[in-house]
């Protein structure tokens, strides 16, 4: 049974509003795409949507209360709050370097959670 969906491609400022028809894991047709990247984007969004989680972690430090963190690559969109719950358990102490791995391979998604700022003391 073919299904239809509107997807806004956000890869460039044109932001094409794609009309996509798909069945199972196959795209049947795509309209309003102005470049080939539209198909690639639509396919990811339909069958494998993923997002980078960005949040903060409390830190014991002289001047800072938090350090910002992110996943090194996108994690499944539907599980973003599960990843968040893992990050929420973490407390850190300075010093922390940018890029330090806070959680390795979070929930087995192949992404690490890393610090995005250096906190020296």
């Amino acid at each position: 049974m073919a299904q239809e969906r509107k997807i806004i491609c956000i890869l460039c400022p044109n932001c094409c509003e794609l009309d996509v028809s798909y069945e199972g894991k196959e795209i049947l047709s795509i309209e309003n795409d102005r470049c080939p990247r539209g198909l690639e984007y639509a396919s990811e969004e339909l069958f494998n949507p993923a997002r980078t989680l960005i949040t903060t972690v409390p830190i014991k430090s002289r001047n800072w209360k938090t350090v910002s963190v992110r996943t090194t690559k996108p994690v499944p969109k539907s599980r973003i709050f599960d990843v968040y719950d893992e990050v929420k358990k973490i407390r850190l102490r300075a010093p922390i370097n940018r890029g330090d791995i806070i959680i390795e391979n979070v929930l087995g998604f192949g992404a690490d959670v890393i610090a995005t700022r250096t906190v020296k003391e």
């Binding site: 806004i8 956000i10 400022p13 102005r34 800072w64 209360k65 938090t66 995005t116």
Partner: protein, 417 residues
């Protein structure tokens, strides 16, 4: 009183100021960078979301990562800097008065680069009626309180204005477990970038109500509710469409204002359109030897562009400090149909190459961007979509500076095409 002389003083260490300091130093000038926060990076530090560095570093950095890359460049270049220090006075002679924890400093510079950034429009500036309870924050303040101070600012949140900071904060608060009820926008379209609308609102099912605004605020002590109503094209409120929304927090994301109080003290003339300085294509202001870049000059959509501007301005200021060229003034750029502003506002008469940055007055589809130099069309580009939230940049290679330059939007007649 501490006294000091320097070739170039850069005021503000955000994306623009950091870049300006690096390039001025690399151009051989003696530079001092002054930042009022206790850290370098300006607003980038609280912008923990990604989307930074795509143009400059070809990487998708978060704000703090972008800042650290820039600070690394600053330290590699060996630029001295002061943090926790605020310039409280600046005059035409380029004498700065700086408050530092070690004392008051008089700094005499050959050139000054203004990079103080912007502030947010407040409830007072919006003139929203109603009570004045706790729980009303501008989006950037909320961003600081949540991301830096680790403070929970509320439970049930309404956001007025679909500017990028508001959209980003909608997602941030949702992720942190707050109930983001809706975003309300007075314009008939979202005023932030499309990718933010999609990834911050649509991803999380946060409704966006267009052509509407907040007309009343309720609650004596802590915010209890806001009243929303529809507006027409001229922003007249339709009082038959009011809806009271219970909430304890209202975020305002309704525009940024370049912070030019210091610039005014130095006699810098401002542009009513941008609220930033009027500059020529070397980014020199009306006050000789004082330059401006980044959000204090005009509001940028992307930090990378503010940095690029800073790199250019740093080099030009260094040239000026070495006496390579003199203050000129130049010919004003004409603002044609569909254009809300152009920076620089003047083109020097000794330049054939110029980069123009501009925004459009409203969203357009299928139009031509045209630049005329006298009677000649020197730039012509057909664009499928152009929106006010995006800054457009175009480079002109060989213009005649003696003739007028005009930027305009021409709507393509579909029938002729």
């Amino acid at each position: 009183m501490i006294e000091k002389k320097v070739d170039i003083a850069v005021i503000g260490a955000g994306p623009g100021g950091l870049a300006a300091a690096v390039s001025a130093k690399e151009s051989g000038a003696d530079v001092l960078l002054i930042e009022r926060n206790p850290f370098l990076g300006g607003i980038l530090i609280q912008c923990i979301h990604d989307g930074f560095g795509l143009h400059l570093f070809d990487k998708n950095y978060t704000g703090p990562e972008y800042a650290e890359e820039m600070v690394n460049r600053l330290e590699n270049a060996g630029v001295p800097y002061l943090t926790n220090c605020m310039v409280i006075d600046l005059n035409e002679k380029k004498e700065l008065t700086v408050v530092t924890s070690k004392g008051l400093m008089k700094l005499i510079a050959k050139a000054v680069i203004l990079a103080m950034g912007c502030r947010e429009r407040t409830r007072g500036a919006l003139e929203i009626p109603g009570t004045r309870p706790a729980g009303i924050y501008t989006a950037g303040v909320a961003q600081n309180l949540v991301n830096i101070q680790n403070l929970r600012i509320g439970n049930d949140v309404v956001i007025l204005g679909s500017g990028d900071v508001g959209l980003i904060m909608a997602r941030r608060l949702k992720i942190e477990g707050l109930n983001v009820i809706r975003v309300i926008e007075i314009l008939p379209y979202c005023s932030g970038l499309v990718r933010n609308r999609v990834q911050c609102l649509e991803d999380y099912g946060i409704p966006l109500t267009l052509s509407s605004t907040v007309i009343d605020i309720h609650g004596k002590d802590r915010l209890e509710a806001v009243t929303m109503a529809k507006v027409d094209r001229d922003f007249n409120v339709d009082h038959d469409t009011t809806e009271k929304i219970d909430c304890d927090t209202l975020l305002l994301s309704v525009g940024l204002i370049p912070e030019n109080e210091l610039s005014k003290k130095a006699g810098v003339n401002l542009d009513n359109r941008t609220s930033g300085a009027l500059v020529d294509n070397f980014y020199e202001t009306s006050t000789e030897g004082i330059f401006s870049c980044g959000n204090v000059l005009h509001i940028h959509d992307v930090a990378d562009y503010a940095s690029n501007e800073g790199f250019f301005v740093g080099e030009k200021a260094a040239e000026y400090a070495k006496g390579k060229w003199k203050h000129s003034g130049g010919k004003p750029v004409k603002i044609g149909n569909g254009i809300s502003y152009v920076v620089p506002q003047y083109i020097r008469n000794d330049c054939n190459e110029v980069e123009l940055k501009f925004r459009v007055t409203q969203p357009f589809e299928n139009v031509r961007i045209i630049v005329k130099n006298g009677d000649d069309v020197v730039f012509k580009k057909r664009v499928l979509k152009v929106i006010p939230s995006e800054m457009n940049i175009l480079k002109l290679k060989s213009i005649d500076p003696e003739k007028d330059v005009e930027v305009k939007i021409v709507i393509i007649d579909k029938n002729i095409n």
